[in-house]
């Protein structure tokens, strides 16, 4: 494949317009089918029994009474999901998370499951399963878990990344370090130093659609899985490996997905549903309750972060240092590592050092959540940056502009940047009318920056041209927020036809080659690259067919604005052939016309954003109100600007929720106290103002149209932007997220007391 992904300037016809999405009508009429909206003949109801204990050895599970209950068709435990992971530690952890093997590691950990004829029977059956637990001491707080006295969650884990191999097991699974220069020397040159410790509580992605799937395993060894997922090809790999199946015999169809944000990137209930179906010999539908979603799926890390930044009087940062501790749940992860990489990514630093510690706790397995790990690090760093600017007496925007990374800067995580957008977003913020909006009593303005890497990855796309000239685009990246619209625009752009002539779908795993999941803001970036490549391959065939129709050499045919054009004087009277005309003749010129593409979309462009927000604080109650909010972010190239704005607004809203009210609250018993939307408080409509957006377009050199991922970065700055606004409104520096009213009121009272 000779696809050239390099950016070149061009005038766009379709890309950059705002048409209605192809899946829209089905979604406003209720016809779109999500995870729980699919049924099969003879389908059973699956239900999972979960540990009520934070940490316990499973001595014995007696399922005999449940099995005898009329209507129960299968009961499974870990014994029905034997370990087939063959030394793949990460897969083993996923398996153990799907069904606890020897120990229950958190409140909500699955220990058994049933399939029955109806919900009532399934629920009754769960009550009849007897689990003999031996309770173990537990730890849920990240700092507590690091102490030597903390209960050990896995005694086979020794800290990785230390120069000397440790002799004792630890809840700290890994240490990682990034940076360059000499921070000690750098702090020596500083006139001002800010040093502070921060904490952030655990949050959940909070997608409105609970995990849901329908699994059907046939006696011939083939199987179908209908599931809401961010990556059906990844789910197929996981499930096939965990159940000992050949991947090609498991066909996974991704339903419409009701939100994921990273929470639907690895399997939870799907292997369980397949195992139940295999045992029962009937299809099984398994839908999590909201309580299960909170207790057993999703959450991001809770963190504890120390930051130290020094600067000269003139505002130059001389050194920056951070130590970041991130909870991983009971299985190793690389969450602090990402936090350590992103923490200072916005700045040009001579001396920088970050150290991350991955920490096991008795909480659900940490999953990715939109720019995972970056918001917490940005909260700590951007809070300290604001404080430092204040100490120096500089405007916080000017201070950041002075220290912003630019093309050629060595990033804090190592590589040197290409063209990037942090400077332009800061300049745009400086000149934004929001910065001049008047503020009243108890109101404050804050701003903050954020960074995310963005990913590419394996991608496969088919583009088929029908005999009527309409185009079917089959992609393998799940559409989480409008990508079928943007990819249709890209196909239309490349082929030179109207958007309405293209219909994009997400193909199942048996219809298309492997695709990585929709994560890391890669959906539109990667699949647009593959779509461009597939379209170019189709154009090559279209030119060949036109050449046949004209009976001239293919080299004399070029593709212009949806038409084959014979070039050169000698073909002057041939005119043009439209895509439609060539398609109509395809039956006699060599058969169907299609373009295929398989590629690794590497070279994703990094992304930066700067946010501004105004907050009012009620000094008597600690209540906050978000008055104004503005997002400025680099998109590279906005393919469908309305959905780019939507990503900016959605990320900001999630960040606002995280900053102000969302948190996992554990009791002393290690049980989650708020597993529901009543007390896990995601923002409601009346909590938010309109969220203003400004899209900057600094082309990514590694994409033909300059596209960068846009999905994640917008959740990075809000925590800090709001903390800075609260600080300016109430005169207190909030170092603990969420800044719930009790925390803000306590801080105000402490400040009053001196």
């Amino acid at each position: 494949m000779n696809f050239d992904p390099r950016y070149s300037t061009r005038n766009f016809a379709s890309v950059g317009t705002r048409p209605i999405r192809p899946d829209g009508v089905d979604k406003v009429t209720g016809r779109a089918r999500y995870g729980a909206d699919f049924n099969m003949a003879g389908q059973l109801v699956g239900r999972v029994l979960r540990s009520p204990h934070a940490h316990a050895t499973i001595r014995k599970i007696d399922t005999s009474k449940a099995e005898k209950l009329p209507g129960v068709k299968a009961v499974i435990t870990a014994a029905d999901l034997p370990d087939l992971t063959d030394g793949d530690a990460a897969m083993y952890d996923i398996l153990d998370n799907c069904m606890a093997r020897t120990k229950a590691l958190y409140d909500g950990h699955a220990v058994a499951a049933v399939a029955a004829v109806d919900v009532r029977t399934a629920r009754q059956a769960l009550k009849l399963i007897e689990v003999d637990y031996e309770l173990l001491p537990h730890v849920t707080d990240v700092d507590e878990a690091m102490k030597h006295s903390a209960p050990l969650i896995n005694d086979a884990i020794f800290t990785e990344g230390l120069e000397e191999k440790p002799v004792k097991p630890s809840n700290v699974t890994k240490r990682s370090q990034f940076g360059h220069g000499d921070v000690h020397q750098g702090f020596g040159h500083a006139d001002f130093i800010v040093e502070r410790s921060f904490k952030t509580e655990q949050t959940h992605q909070g997608y409105i659609e609970p995990h849901a799937c329908v699994a059907s395993v046939s006696s011939d060894g083939t199987a179908d899985l209908w599931v809401c997922t961010q990556g059906h090809f990844v789910y197929r790999q996981h499930c096939a490996q965990l159940l000992g199946m050949e991947a090609s015999k498991l066909r996974v169809t991704s339903s419409e997905i009701g939100g994921g944000f990273g929470g639907k990137t690895h399997v939870w209930a799907e292997p369980v549903a397949l195992a139940l179906s295999r045992k029962a010999g009937r299809p099984v539908k398994l839908v999590m309750t909201r309580d299960e979603v909170f207790r057993a799926s999703g959450p991001t890390s809770a963190t504890s972060i120390d930051v130290k930044i020094g600067a000269r009087k003139d505002g130059t940062i001389t050194a920056a240092e951070a130590t970041l501790r991130y909870s991983c749940g009971p299985y190793p992860g690389s969450w602090a590592e990402i936090g350590a990489m992103t923490a200072f990514a916005c700045y040009r630093l001579e001396n920088v050092k970050t150290v991350g510690y991955e920490v096991l706790v008795n909480r659900p397995k940490t999953a990715a959540y939109r720019a995972p790990s970056a918001p917490m690090a940005a909260f700590a760093v951007e809070s300290a940056v604001d404080e430092l600017a204040k100490e120096i007496g500089m405007d916080p925007v000017d201070f950041r502009i002075k220290n912003a990374a630019q093309e050629g800067t060595r990033s804090s995580y190592g590589p040197v940047y290409g063209p990037i957008g942090i400077g332009p977003t800061l300049e745009a913020v400086k000149n934004h009318p929001h910065m001049k909006a008047p503020l009243g009593k108890n109101q404050g303005r804050g701003m903050a920056c954020g960074f995310w890497f963005n990913f590419g990855g394996q991608t496969c796309t088919d583009l088929n041209i029908g005999m009527d000239g309409s185009v079917s685009l089959a992609v393998g990246t799940v559409d989480v927020g409008g990508s079928r619209a943007s990819l249709s625009l890209v196909a239309a752009e490349e082929l030179g036809i109207a958007y309405e002539q293209v219909k994009a779908i997400v193909a199942d795993t048996s219809s298309l080659g492997y695709n990585d999941m929709t994560d890391g803001s890669r959906g539109t970036f990667s699949s647009s690259m593959a779509t461009i490549s597939a379209a170019r391959n189709a154009i090559k065939i279209l030119r060949e067919r036109a050449a046949q129709m004209w009976d001239i050499a293919v080299d004399d045919v070029v593709w212009e604005q949806g038409h084959a054009v014979a070039k050169g004087e000698k073909h002057g009277n041939l005119g043009k052939l439209s895509l439609k005309e060539i398609a109509a003749a395809s039956g006699t010129t060599g058969g169907p016309i299609a373009g295929h593409s398989e590629l690794v979309a590497d070279g994703a462009g990094v992304s930066f954003a700067t946010h501004i927000c105004d907050i009012e604080v009620d000094p008597e109650t600690g209540a906050t109100r978000v008055l104004r909010y503005t997002v400025v972010q680099d998109a590279g190239k906005a393919v469908h600007p309305t959905y780019v704005e939507g990503q900016y607004q959605g990320g900001a809203a999630q960040g606002i929720g995280w900053a102000l009210n969302e948190e996992y609250i554990y009791g002393k018993d290690g049980r989650l106290q708020n597993p529901g939307f009543l007390d896990y408080r995601i923002p409601v409509c009346s909590d938010l103002p309109m969220i203003d957006t400004q899209i900057l377009e600094i082309p990514n050199p590694n994409h033909p149209y300059g596209v960068r991922g846009v999905g994640e970065t917008s959740i990075v700055p809000p925590l800090a932007a709001i903390a800075n606004a609260v600080s300016n409104a109430a005169g207190v520096r909030m170092a603990h997220i969420p800044m719930s009213p009790p925390r803000i009121l306590a801080a105000i009272e402490a400040e009053r007391a001196g």
Binding site: R21, T29, Y207, E209, G260, G481, Q649, C685
Partner: protein, 158 residues
């Protein structure tokens, strides 16, 4: 457990069904009648995804028993469009991209329909408080509020 026989009207059509006494109207609509446009996000009345209109009153169908629908009128998202012409709210949701994943959309459409029926000219604040029982995790609500404002203008002119 003996089933309860229910005669009701759903989206203008007479419907009869048998349900269990403890079965929610949400489960009846989705599992017995195939109206899966009504979504379950929580089952406890905290997310609004299962919103329906029951005798001109906006309710969460997860907090209504199937048996309670006897003799009443139920409206769901499936009944909003007339033939192939979408309700102005549906059209405006599409035009404004007021949905990303779309799972909350049916609930929002029904809640917005109820809101505009009772208050045809709402302020932004009235829209925001009127729709506060419906959670959306994707959009930050901005485009939803704009779509409702735009639909209200269209419906006033109609």
């Amino acid at each position: 457990m003996a089933g309860v026989a229910v005669s009701t009207t759903i989206n203008g059509d007479s419907v009869e069904y048998l349900c269990q006494p403890d079965e929610t109207l949400l489960d009846v609509l989705r599992d017995r009648l195939g109206l899966t446009g009504v979504k379950e996000g929580c089952g406890t009345g905290d997310c609004g995804a299962c919103s329906i209109i029951l005798d001109d009153r906006l309710v969460c169908s997860c907090l209504v028993l199937g048996a309670e629908a006897e003799g009443r009128r139920v409206e769901t998202v499936e009944g909003m469009a007339h033939g192939d012409s979408l309700h102005p709210l549906q059209q405006k949701f599409l035009e404004h991209a007021a949905l990303q994943c779309g799972i909350c959309t049916p609930g929002f459409l029904i809640a917005a329909k109820d809101l505009l029926a009772k208050n045809p000219d709402p302020t932004e604040e009235e829209i925001r408080f009127g729709l506060a029982g419906n959670l959306c995790r994707c959009t930050g609500y901005d485009k939803i509020v704009r779509a409702v404002q735009d639909a209200a203008n269209v419906m006033k002119g109609a």
